[in-house]
Structure formats: structure tokens, C-alpha cells
């Protein structure tokens, strides 16, 4: 008690600094160093084809963006159907962050999955991929 009284100022400033650092580190804003998080897109290591999925670890979370149904074999553990705009809703983001395995984005419009991928990746979400879909202009 005596210690607390003696150092109350130092302790309160330390506590405030720690809280600020924690909030800024773990808030849902973008992470530091945009180049690092965007790099998989330049290396193409964030693109998956349907054939690569069975070889991946379990706990796959497949997110289908929009109303399109993926034309893939639905053998994944978890499938989440979302509007692209609602990906950042608290509950959805929490599911994505808590998923232990890879998160795979799918949309028939590759533009949508590419844009969502970049946003999520820059938020510090690792192990996130795009399932290359059939392009709109290739559809019969």
C-alpha cells in the first residue's frame, strides 16, 4: 500500500501507456508496413486453385462472397456466406481471426475477392487465400 502511494503517478502513467499501446496494436485498424502484407499478392502465393485445397490442413474456413455459389466440392469444414461489405462486421471478423486453419475467399467475380483479400491482409490476417474462380466473362 505504501508502495502504491509512493509511486501512484509513475504507475498510472505506465498503465495508461500500456493500455494505449495495447489498443493501438490490437485494434482493428491496419497493420504497420503495407508492403509486407501486400507481398503475397505480388508473389501470387495467395492464389489457390481447387486442386490445392485437399492438400491443405484442416480447419479451413471458406468464405463465399456475394450470392454466387462456388462450383467446388463442398468438403470444407466451415463455409461462411457473406456479403462482401459485411466481412468487417465484428462477428464475422472474429470468426476469421479465430480460425486456426487457412481462410479461403471465393467469389465468381475475382475483383471482389482480390479487394477483400487486400483489406484483410493489411489488417494483419495471415493465412488468407483467394480461390481462383471462373471469370465472369468466361461464364457460358
Amino acid at each position: 500500500m505504501k508502495f502504491l502511494k509512493q509511486y501512484w503517478l509513475i504507475l498510472s502513467i505506465t498503465l495508461l501507456a500500456v493500455i494505449l499501446v495495447m489498443v493501438r496494436t490490437y485494434s482493428h485498424n491496419f497493420r504497420y508496413d503495407a508492403v509486407r502484407w501486400a507481398e503475397p499478392s505480388a508473389l501470387r502465393s495467395n492464389i489457390l486453385t481447387e486442386d490445392q485445397i485437399p492438400a491443405m490442413s484442416s480447419d479451413i474456413l471458406l468464405i463465399t462472397l456475394g450470392n454466387d455459389t462456388p462450383a467446388i466440392k463442398q468438403t470444407q469444414d466451415k463455409i461462411l456466406k457473406l456479403n462482401p461489405e459485411s466481412v468487417l462486421e465484428k462477428a464475422n471478423l472474429s470468426l476469421i481471426r479465430k480460425n486456426k486453419g487457412p481462410v479461403i475467399l471465393f467469389s465468381d467475380d475475382n475483383s471482389v475477392s482480390a479487394r477483400v483479400w487486400m483489406v484483410l491482409s493489411e489488417m494483419g490476417i495471415k493465412n488468407i487465400f483467394i480461390l481462383q474462380g471462373q471469370r465472369k466473362n468466361e461464364l457460358p
Binding site: A34, A42, S111, M118
Partner: protein, 203 residues
């Protein structure tokens, strides 16, 4: 004892200041995710190939076409007025060099869309709201502009204007891409982004 205590307070105050400093490190996204995502999913961040063709035909100086394909691909087929910044280079270098002029709308394109979409989010995330994509990339350009055909007996004034724009843009594209290799190389070299030129200094 008193000095030690004062020093501790000073250090802690310093740490507090550091914690409060904004993250203004170069190339970290400045936009808020919940603002950026809906923004990049809107249709108004895209231009159609017809709109781009019109900019080219009008020689509109308020837009800049940025080709994110490799140099080889750029040499093979180039849309008139485009500059080449391969995508890996685009994300690694300081974008201020390319996107810094806020009076110009920067329109990204690739073969299809993916790299242009990444570049769009990347640029807008860094605060360059003057960034757009050309829908469908050069694939769509070839299909819509180069292979345009009119079939039928009657044509409305609007259709005629659109057809004329496509025809003129197509001609410009063909003229540029059918230049002899030596001339084309010279021309394309001049279309490479040069930081020196943007600085306004003499070489």
C-alpha cells in the same frame, strides 16, 4: 532518490508521447478498414473500357493510365497514353512518385483485373483517393474496343458516337502497336515513369 524518481517520470512521459504519436510511417494504410472496404467495392472506382477509350480519343490530361503488367507484356500490347509500372515494383516503391498528382485520376489495368484490384485497394488505403481501375483490363479492351463491329440497318446517334470513339481508339492502339520495334522501344522508354521528370528538374 528524488532524481531517480524524476527520471522515471520523465521516461514514462516520453513513452506516453510515443504511444500517442500517429502511425505515419511511410506506406502504412491510413484509411479506416470499415471506410475503405465499402469504398473499394463501389462501382464508381471503376471505369469501363469505353470511358477510357473516350479519355484517350479526347487526349484528356486529367487521367493517367497505369499498366501494371510486366515490361514484356507492355511492349507487346500498349494502350495509348499508358505508363508501365509492373505490380511488384508498384507495391515496393514509394507510390508518391506515381500517384502524387492529386489533379490526375490514376487508372490501373492489367491483363484481366486482379493486380489492378490489389493496386486500387493499396493506393486508396495509402490515401490516394484518385485511384481507379479499368474494368476487365486489356482483355476487355481487345474484346470491346478492338473487335467492335456494327451490324444492323439503323444506328442511333448515341450508338454512332460510341462506335466512332471505339474505332478511333482502336486505330490509335493499332498505330502504336504496329510501330517498328526500334521506334516502339524509344516511344515506350519515354513512357516509363521518371521521378526526375515529376520533380520538374533538368536531367
Amino acid at each position: 532518490m528524488k532524481i531517480r524518481r524524476e527520471f522515471s517520470v520523465l521516461l514514462l512521459l516520453l513513452s506516453l508521447i510515443l504511444a500517442l504519436l500517429p502511425l505515419t510511417a511511410n506506406r502504412s494504410f491510413t484509411a479506416k478498414p470499415e471506410k475503405l472496404l465499402p469504398e473499394v467495392l463501389k462501382e464508381d472506382v471503376s471505369f469501363t473500357v469505353d470511358q477510357v477509350a473516350e479519355f484517350i480519343v479526347r487526349e484528356d490530361s486529367t487521367f493517367q493510365l497505369i499498366d501494371l503488367r510486366s515490361q514484356d507484356e507492355f511492349r507487346r500490347q500498349t494502350i495509348p497514353g499508358a505508363v508501365n509500372i509492373p505490380y511488384p515494383e508498384f507495391i515496393k516503391k514509394d507510390p508518391e512518385t506515381w500517384l502524387g498528382n492529386k489533379n490526375v485520376r490514376n487508372i490501373f489495368y492489367t491483363t484481366d483485373d486482379t493486380d489492378a484490384d490489389y493496386a486500387l485497394v493499396y493506393a486508396r488505403g495509402l490515401g490516394y483517393d484518385n485511384s481507379y481501375v479499368m474494368e476487365g483490363g486489356i482483355t476487355e479492351w481487345i474484346t470491346t474496343v478492338m473487335e467492335t463491329k456494327f451490324t444492323g440497318d439503323r444506328i442511333t446517334a448515341r450508338e454512332n458516337a460510341l462506335f466512332e470513339t471505339r474505332r478511333r481508339a482502336g486505330e490509335m492502339f493499332t498505330e502504336l502497336n504496329s510501330l517498328p520495334d526500334s521506334l516502339k522501344t524509344k516511344f515506350l522508354e519515354s513512357r516509363k515513369f521518371s521521378a526526375k521528370k515529376l520533380d520538374g528538374g533538368c536531367e
